[in-house]
Symmetry: C2
Amino acid sequence: MDKPYVLGLDLGGTNSVLGIVDARGHVIARTSIKTQQYTDINDYVEALYTEAIKIIEPVGGMDVIRGLGAGAPDGNYYTGNIEFAPNLPWKGIVPFAQLLSEKFGVPCTVTNDANAAAMGEMMYGAARGMKNFIMITLGTGVGSGIIIDGKMVYGHDGFAGELGHTKIDHTENARLCGCGQRGCIEAYASATGVARTAREILAKTTKKTVLRDLNPEEITSYDVFKAAEQGDEVAKEIFDYTGNLLGQKLADFVAFSAPEAIVMFGGLTKAGHWIMDPVVKALNDNVMPIWKNKVKVMFSDLKEADAAVLGASALAWE
Amino acid sequence: MDKPYVLGLDLGGTNSVLGIVDARGHVIARTSIKTQQYTDINDYVEALYTEAIKIIEPVGGMDVIRGLGAGAPDGNYYTGNIEFAPNLPWKGIVPFAQLLSEKFGVPCTVTNDANAAAMGEMMYGAARGMKNFIMITLGTGVGSGIIIDGKMVYGHDGFAGELGHTKIDHTENARLCGCGQRGCIEAYASATGVARTAREILAKTTKKTVLRDLNPEEITSYDVFKAAEQGDEVAKEIFDYTGNLLGQKLADFVAFSAPEAIVMFGGLTKAGHWIMDPVVKALNDNVMPIWKNKVKVMFSDLKEADAAVLGASALAWE
């Protein structure tokens, strides 16, 4: 194979990580730039190329690179554009694939970040060999990538798999989500959702808890995890509440595509069994009898730093 | 083409309708038997064959039949079985495709009834030419068939697309569904769900309404439609309530697979704009901005009697 490598780009709100990936899924070199530093997309592409070429030259230059795959918030597989991404410095519609392709001189494919993580999981992670699974990313937001019959679901317009914005609470008092809707699962199972749950539970309970020593606006699922590990009852209550809602919502997803497994990824998974147990219980309490205790629920086994780079790079082999 | 026809079987809880279908999607002949009359599946297959052959002989006998497709409640595409169907006389797992194939001497494929309707809609109905749509059947229950990239979604186990059992109410007081869960949309948007809503609203309101003259257990969406057409405020309220819940749930489905359209089919659709308007409003009020006013919502344009037969027959061309 005269072009043995692909590039995978994980474009995050803070960092953009680019890796050189070989056919066995090894990230043989990586570099990164600060996404927010470039308010002009052309400057971003230029800076990315400048850094990229420093790690590409030592392995043989662009001649050994088959293509580039990018995972980006609000990246659209069909158009190659990044469209109206609220957390990126570039407004409106950015022809991202086209700009990268012109600069790097290789074919470039774009998808959204959660889809990229799902691709990585299917090719190199916990879902290897599975043809039907759903990846849920529990980070700043709640994202998802849906694989059916071995293929990523993009839908009619390329925006399929926005499961973070399905509703767990249909009442008027449901939490407001960043998308403008109320009751989205993202408002409960994301980092900010968990912090909000912590604040709500702390405000209601008189129980002693180490979580009172923290800034309630900044409580992370890892803080809550550490507290739970020490036997903190309030910490456990936070995970039970979060996991119960998430598991109920996963039951809806099972009714949709009957996946073999649901793979969870991102910050909240650091809570281990404290989050897994209530998720699994609520899922099985809320699925139809045919699915009870049949759907695997697992954590990603890819390093968080690698999953999106690997998944994005997978697009470049196609 | 020496085998110009296929057979399509719509196995319903009451009637089993079998049609001979040509390549253009015309049902050139049909016959039916009473499903509940045969408590032994072998008697059912025998009786079906006996009736079928009466309409098959005149067009050239089994030699001109390429195959048989069947849509049945709880029919599984992968296994060809009907599995634990609560509304059919045969208990446990019935190897339906195998029994039919042996009797008729042609390949036989089985799917569930809502999937068959979706296939019919894609090949011959409102969704002709669409590669991404969701069919919602609003009848005794609420069923669904999901098409992604031009293919029916069966999932890991063949049971995908049970959207009637996704939840619209996550509270403890949510309605009990026939599946044993609480809060499923089937408990609200099915025939029995509409009758239940009618009873609840009638119990609460003092408004004059023609619906009080009916047996509340037997109120159908068509009764409510007739009342709404006469300007009955309570009838309108019933459709607004039902449509609002259904539309909210459709918004979840859009976030999953980003379909081009949602096609509604079955008894409730007879209510026309009285149900369509609140569904469309609630859908657009509950989707992310990228999908507002973008997803088509339509009624099936197949005759109800033909959709399942046509859809089931489509399987036999594969």
